[in-house]
Symmetry: C2
Subunit: 109 residues, 2 copies
Amino acid sequence: MTDLVPIDRVFHALADPNRRAILERLGTAPLSATLLAEPLGVTVAAVVQHLQILEAGGLIRTEKVGRVRTCRLHPAGLSAAEQWFRDRRSEWEQRFDRLGELLAADEDA
Amino acid sequence: MTDLVPIDRVFHALADPNRRAILERLGTAPLSATLLAEPLGVTVAAVVQHLQILEAGGLIRTEKVGRVRTCRLHPAGLSAAEQWFRDRRSEWEQRFDRLGELLAADEDA
């Protein structure tokens, strides 16, 4: 899963407050770039740039029908990032468990 | 928790493969910048820059003892990012559930 979406691009996409705000709004419904731009107080051109970065990170999909480009959430990027966290946490917890066992064994000796 | 660590900085710190490699190595033991630089094939100065970005993201802590700066994992950044994912997922799942209920009610009508 992680290989399908470059994880650098997922985290880069998430590192901007306007891009996170776009994701949160797309959680309610698919929307056009124009509608996404309004509450952010930025130009449609700026939103289009953000959308390209979100799409490269596998976080949204866009589809152009006639003259309107509609954006919707896409789960791949979110899943890749969550998987990275799960892997790290389970690796680190295993190590801390082993460290705990070693310390306990040392106390018993 | 999220307010304590600026989430922009957490995701920015995670968006670089060398910085993620540093985090993964620090999962095994606290290490100096010099030891961290070796397997990455980058200069110590480059690692020090990465460490500053990781520290700003609440992902590591560094401590200088004599002439050696030792780095260790710090849980705040990781927790802030995981919390962001949990919040989004629970929000989105609730919406999808409500959507499912609305569709089911519509079918019953």
